[in-house]
């Protein structure tokens, strides 16, 4: 008896080079692969530009401090973008919920253990309002959240009178939220990793995650398949604004203050981080781990440019150039990889599909036997 599959096609054992090549190809098909490449490339570039200071622990602490606060905000934006929506109000929600937290502690004397969850709940409420307006009036989320961004920011400016507000934060709360407790790394990094893990499980291992991706790929098809599209949309907005509130509370704990412009501009930074992380602006495709790497990339750019002695007037320009470069790398590689064919001896489908085919072939073979 010959060692042939049931299809009758002669099966050849691929060489090790092809196996590794195919493994790399399949890895590169993942959304976060180019974000890893961006991190590695920037690490090498900044290490060359600043060999004495960049590859050191203090630098990594700085990078993670920036990445954590922005990353928590960006994870919500990522889930929303995979679901096919935008939220431009996250920066204003961050500011407004920070204000709520500060006022509850300062003016109402509440413990931060109570004030912080209330602020997150307020954030969730604001997100729910965004989601409700989007699904109720069928207006594009870009426009709705542009409007609410102006509203929340205006409310914050009016409430603060335009001036920063300070509050005394208990040391324990400060340390738990953002203290440098992990060998100098801030606790915000732990929250960031925990939220990344939870969001990844939600997106890849839960029914809601499936629904989110289905909603992002094709709303009508998802609706026809029984996905509660409107409910998913509202949940996504709630999650996004709640995470913005969490990021705000971490900043309140760290700086013991809030100001009228807190969070301004971060909505666009979050979009940049999300896109660097491999999530498509068109929705339906993306990765939370990619966003984590995107946030680290952003932090690396911010810190690396200072350590490399970049000219002060061009700081934003250079940040923008690197972000655009990272996105070009990301989308170009993704496009090329999507067009690529499996290396010899491998089927076009993914590993899971390969396994299914093999299982089917084995079953067929068993029946024939």
């Amino acid at each position: 008896m010959t060692n042939e599959p049931a299809s009758g096609v002669a099966r050849t054992v691929p060489s090790r080079r092809i196996v590794y090549g195919e493994a790399l190809r399949r890895f590169m098909l993942r959304p976060e692969s180019t974000a890893i490449a961006a991190v590695l490339i920037l690490f090498v570039v900044f290490t060359i530009l600043s060999p004495a200071l960049f590859p050191t622990k203090l630098t990594y602490i700085s990078i993670m401090a920036i990445a954590s606060e922005l990353g928590i905000l960006s994870i919500g934006v990522t889930l929303l973008m995979i679901g096919g929506h935008f939220d431009l109000s996250v920066g204003a929600v961050l500011g407004l919920t920070s204000y709520v937290c500060v006022v509850l502690m300062r003016d109402f004397g509440l413990s931060p253990v109570i004030a912080a969850p209330v602020a997150v709940a307020v954030g969730a409420l604001l997100g729910g309002l965004n989601g409700y307006v989007v699904v109720r009036f069928r207006i594009h989320s870009f426009v709705v959240t542009l409007g609410t961004m102006l509203i929340w920011r205006g409310v914050l400016i009016a409430l603060t009178g335009g001036f920063p507000m300070t509050v005394d934060i208990p040391v324990v709360f400060k340390n738990v939220m953002s203290g440098p407790l992990i060998f100098g790394f801030r606790m915000s990094m732990v929250w960031f990793f925990a939220i990344t893990l939870l969001a990844t499980i939600l997106l890849t291992r839960s029914r809601l995650g499936n629904w989110i991706q289905a909603r992002g790929q094709n709303e009508n098809a998802a609706r026809n398949l029984g996905v509660p599209v409107d409910r998913v949309t509202i949940i996504l907005f709630v999650l996004t604004s709640a995470l913005a509130a969490v990021a705000g509370i971490i900043q309140v704990a760290r700086f013991s203050s809030v100001d009228a412009l807190r969070g301004e501009g971060m909505e666009l930074q979050a979009v940049a981080v999300t896109v660097i992380g491999g999530t498509l602006l068109s929705g339906g495709y993306g990765s939370v781990v990619g966003t984590m790497l995107g946030a680290i990339t952003f932090g690396m750019i911010q810190v690396g440019l200072v350590l490399a002695g970049a000219p002060g007037h061009f700081f934003r320009t250079l940040t923008g150039v690197i972000v655009v470069g990272a996105v070009i790398l990301n989308t170009d590689v993704a496009r090329r990889m999507a067009r690529s064919k499996p290396l010899g001896g491998f089927k076009r489908s993914s590993a899971a599909a390969d396994a299914a085919i093999q299982a089917g072939a084995a079953a067929e073979k068993g029946e024939a036997g």
Binding site: E69, L70, I157, G161, G162, P164, Q251, R262, G265, V306
Partner: protein
Amino acid sequence: MIACRSLSRSRKGVPVAQPGGIRHLAGTIAASLLTVAAFVSAPDAARAEDKPISIYFVGCAAPTGFHGYLARGAEEAGKNLGVNVTYVYPDQLTIPNQVQKIEEAIAAQANGIAVCAFAEDKAYAEIAARAKEAGIAFGSAAAPPSGAQIRDPNDFFLFRTGSDEAAAGKLTAQRLLSMGVKGRVVVANQQPGDASCQLRATSEIDALKAAGIEADFLELTMDPGQQSEALFNYLRVHPDTAAATSTCDVIDGFLSAKADSGRNDLILTGYDIVAQSLAAIKDGRQAFTIDQQQFWRGYMPVLLLTHYLKYGLIEGNYFLTGPTIVDKDNVERVSALVKEGYR
């Protein structure tokens, strides 16, 4: 008294033809014409009755925070002088939006207009000419060009009253030099598009460099976390940095970077009076802050307009409200005045 108006114009009552025939329509039109005629003749009648002077203060932003003190200054001047003051402002600070508010003030037949000018003079030249044609006194609640002291007789602004931002940057540099700063100074701007902040930064750097001190410009964002990490790493690259200046009022990131770097000897300076700065000056984390006495920026234009309209008085020198310094010596007194709304 003071009244605040938003950008949107209030709708005037427009006569609408009702069903009921031509006679009714003719009656409506006649009544409308009579009403319009009454409105047109109103200013003359009001003048005859010695109507109070009406001054429009065209601000840069809503009367909150910094601009709240301007509005409060204008309000108090109005009360003290017995004139009506109306504070109007654009929703977004752009030249067209602000000029639109000036046009509204002209249309409202104000006796005087003070504008919180934020752009070059030529942006206001045309509207100033229209105000002059309408017989309206027109002044600037902003500083004159840097270095100008004596009022130019051809200046289309009757007066200029504000803080000299270039002088503010120079003052910061002079104070740092008097404190014996050596080595390097970093001057950071969190709002790179803001001309005031940029002028402060440029003049401080120029003055420091002229005195032989290394001075760098650092562009930052408004996020305090990103500010803190950028400054922290700047201090790592340049451990000889003796002082850091924040050209905007958000100082949290600077205080955090100073604490994180363990650089207790780092001299921090800032702008404007905010809670964090006052607290940091009191406990020694910040050396001083530059104050432009914004209350005066609201009060003085109303005073100057009123005296011009009543007595024909025009200033000889431009009136500078700042810069002044708030440091450990006067921080307690200033804090008390902040609570009263004057600083």
